[in-house]
């Protein structure tokens, strides 16, 4: 078809199908509502034994090559897992960890295989990317001197408290972008400042890296494209998680609309509630289609333009629909929806988190415009 619509590829392998089945069951089993609620209040935000089970299932290495202990299935195989976790609002450092692995794999070389082995073996990792609130900014404010010593702080580093490896995006003396690999244990306790996040299933911190010496510093041409790809894959994984959360939010709305009576009628019979719920459903399916399309367009190498378009579309659509779903969920639950106890509070908070990770819908539409309209 036309250039503007581009590829319509959507593949779903047998491995992905198996992972989807396994991950759904795993999340249903390990992350029931009561467990989600319990973990909201905990310091770590996730269960260490569950993380270990997930590591034993090989999920920290699904995307990594077999040479470093991974399964060699690529990002596509992670999508069903991340989507399922989103559905169960399961808190784990998995997204942060696999994104760090992707950035390191793409920016580094054979000498980084030991770090990737650590990660596929279950060491949590993360990327310190943001200098402040702007996903579209340079985010190169942390400097790395000739001895590999860092200076500066990074904002909202996800799962920083757990990370054994932190990939810090910064710049060197020449002003070129670099990725400094920092051991989590090299960052002093007082350099961690944890955030009070809107989504209580998540954890993030501001980290002051001043005076920390990197274990190694990755630089060169690959770094720029690796950072770009990290941002796109991050957007895609956030979208996958958001789609899962949206479907759970939708199920909650539908359940309420089927059981709650007002004026002697089930409220789901009122079209004022029914029709917006249908729009949530249709939007969720669209976002899900775009997510699996994007996963079909990503491979080992630098992301193609088609892959970039796909990731950005998936994130734009998923951001909008989870926001709408969470918002309507609170509203449609009426007085109960306004309370902390109602799970709508979890979804509207997840929506706010998902919208702002790796750029919101407007951020991605703005970047889609030249890709789609100016060719």
């Amino acid at each position: 078809m036309s250039a503007i619509i581009g590829s319509k590829k959507i593949d779903f392998s047998e491995e992905q199908g198996m992972l989807l089945d396994v991950a759904r069951e795993f999340v249903k089993d390990k992350s029931p509502g009561s467990e989600v609620r319990k973990l909201l209040e905990s310091e770590a935000g996730f269960s260490q034994p569950v993380w270990q089970e997930l590591v034993d299932l090989g999920w920290t290495g699904i995307n990594l090559p077999e040479s470093v202990g991974g399964s060699g299935l690529g990002i596509a195989a992670l999508i069903p897992v991340i989507e399922s976790m989103g559905k169960g609002l399961m808190g784990t450092p998995l997204v942060s960890t696999v994104l760090a692995a992707e950035l390191i794999r793409r920016a580094g070389g054979v000498s980084e295989e030991d770090v990737l082995e650590d990660i596929s073996g279950g060491c949590a990792a993360t990327v310190a990317y943001l200098d402040g609130s702007d996903w579209g900014g340079a985010n190169a404010g942390v400097t790395v001197d000739a001895n590999g010593v860092l200076s500066g702080t990074k904002f909202m580093v996800p799962d920083a408290a757990q990370a054994m490896w932190i990939a810090v995006v910064g710049s060197n003396a020449a002003g070129d972008k670099v990725v400094a690999l920092v051991a989590g244990s090299d960052v002093a306790a007082q350099a961690h400042e944890s955030h009070a996040l809107i989504d209580l299933t998540k954890r993030a911190e501001t980290l002051d890296f001043t005076g920390v010496k990197a274990q190694r510093v990755l630089s060169g041409d690959k770094v720029t494209s690796a950072i770009r790809d990290y941002l796109l894959i991050g957007a895609l994984l956030t979208a996958a998680e958001a789609v899962g959360s949206t479907s759970a939010c939708l199920a909650g709305i539908v359940d309420y609309l089927k059981t709650r009576k007002q004026f002697g009628k089930l409220i789901g019979s009122f079209q004022a509630l029914k029709h917006p719920t249908v729009d949530i459903y249709v939007g969720m399916e669209h976002a899900r289609s775009l997510v699996y399309h994007a996963s079909s367009e990503i491979d080992e190498g630098p992301l193609s333009v088609e892959a970039e378009v796909a990731c950005r579309m998936a994130k734009a659509k998923a951001s909008d629909i989870i926001q709408y779903a969470g918002d309507r969920s609170v509203q449609f639950h009426g007085g109960f929806g306004f309370t902390w106890e109602c799970d709508s509070s979890l979804f509207i908070r997840r929506a706010a988190w998902s919208q702002q990770q790796f750029g919101d819908a407007m951020h991605h539409r703005k970047r889609l415009a030249p890709l789609l309209l100016d060719s």
């Binding site: 089927k258 789901g268 019979s269 669209h286 734009a316 415009a369």
Partner: protein, 401 residues
């Protein structure tokens, strides 16, 4: 049979060649974009001749049996023809109610006599069909049909009226749903289904002028019209089942249609082409940030729509709501098309206020008319709001409204 079959590939080449030589050029007047919009004799004659040309070449109803005017070919061939018709921007194949609803229905459940009598003339375009389901007072509530057909010897006497009768003023026959029994416990059991003649006394089709200013459908009045009992399709009282089957063909739930080219599709590429002809703030309109965002939103929707359609064929990705994507097809596509066409009118600046009759109207008012005409698809065949009820109730399991 699949697309890599060598005989299909050869056929693809042949059909492309045939289309480039035979698809009629612009006749100098606006043609209907859909079968709902045939409003003048001039358009009718043109489209009838075009359909006949396509059939004579053997490219219409290719998978229908040869004894009824088809080619007895694999359905894949007609699929290739339909795609080529779209790709070559060919005028529509207008006799849709015959070709896509009545024809397959008769091949499915009709008697041998019915098939001999009607099917070939549907393909050639010699006889035009219309549909008499909806009535003025209850458009979407088909079970409540009030048009009466009372048996009188070997005839039924029909009284009542039908509305939105597409092609009704030109049609030779109507698939008619009428009430033959008012005493049944279930309202559905009193309905019967007729292959009714239109050109008889007591049947009058009055053209309805549409929001575009054009004609295309009618209100059809029956005043003591007499139709033979042999016009019954199925049993007396068995009309509901036939009507539901017809709707399955109409909505594309089951295959067998003679040609899918009943509408000329307008896509994002057409809108992009229009972009080269307008400016905003003294600069090319494609540089306008607001316009760009609207176009990107449409592109996301278009892509999500078509990838979702493909995803419907992957069962493992449809376990939560197995038929949701298929059941939301009309809802998604027709509403997207409405927004797309509205945008085609918006981008024209002051020119967007001109309509078809103005010589300065952009592309003869193509976009304004396309936007208005698109309501035929968001209203006809079950409105968007009825579709939302269907999705809400049958996909999500919400209580009935």
């Amino acid at each position: 049979m699949n697309a890599t079959d060598p005989s299909l590939q050869n056929f693809q080449t042949d059909i492309d060649k045939w289309m480039s030589e035979n698809v009629p050029k612009n006749p100098g007047f606006l043609l209907p974009l859909t079968f709902l919009e045939v409003g003048t004799e001039q358009q009718l004659d043109f489209l009838r001749e075009w359909q006949h040309t396509l059939w004579s070449a053997g490219f219409l109803g290719m998978h229908w049996p040869t004894e009824y005017g088809g080619q007895g070919a694999d359905p894949a061939y007609q699929g290739i023809v339909d795609k080529a018709l779209g790709a070559h921007n060919a005028p529509i194949i207008f006799n849709t109610i015959g070709l896509n609803w009545t024809g397959p229905l008769l091949l499915d459940v009709g008697t041998e006599e019915d098939r001999q009598r009607y099917v070939k003339n549907i393909l050639t375009g010699e006889e035009i069909w219309c549909q008499g389901f909806s009535e003025p007072d209850h458009g979407s509530d088909l079970g409540n049909v009030q048009t009466r057909a009372v048996r009188d010897g070997d005839e039924f006497i029909v009284n009542g009226s039908k509305i939105w009768t597409t092609l009704g003023n030109y049609a030779d026959h109507m698939i008619l749903l009428a009430r033959t029994d008012t005493s049944t416990a279930r309202k559905y059991d009193g309905l019967s289904f007729f292959l009714a003649p239109m050109k008889v006394d007591g049947v009058e089709a009055r053209p309805i002028r549409k929001v575009t200013g054009e004609f295309g459908f009618n209100e059809t009045f029956f005043t003591d019209a007499r139709i033979p009992t042999s016009c019954l399709l199925g049993d007396e009282g068995g009309g509901w089942r036939m009507a539901m089957k017809t709707l399955e063909y109409e909505r594309g739930v089951i295959a067998g249609q003679a040609s899918a080219h009943s509408m000329q599709s307008i896509g994002l590429e057409d809108l992009m082409n229009a972009m080269h002809d307008f400016e905003r703030d003294g600069a090319p309109i494609l540089e306008d940030a607001m316009i760009r965002d609207e176009l990107v939103k449409l592109a996301i929707e278009a892509k999500a729509n078509s990838i979702s359609d493909r995803r419907a064929g992957i069962p493992a990705l449809n376990t939560d709501y197995p038929f949701g994507i298929a059941l939301s097809n009309k809802y998604r596509h027709t509403e997207y098309a409405r927004r797309l066409k509205m945008m085609g009118a918006h981008v024209q600046g002051a020119q967007g206020a001109l309509f078809m009759d103005d010589d300065r109207a952009y592309m003869g008012g193509f976009w304004q008319r396309a936007y208005f005409a698109n309501f035929g698809t968001t209203i006809g065949g079950g409105t968007t709001q009825i579709q939302a009820n269907i999705i809400g109730e049958h996909v999500l399991g919400l209580p009935k409204s």
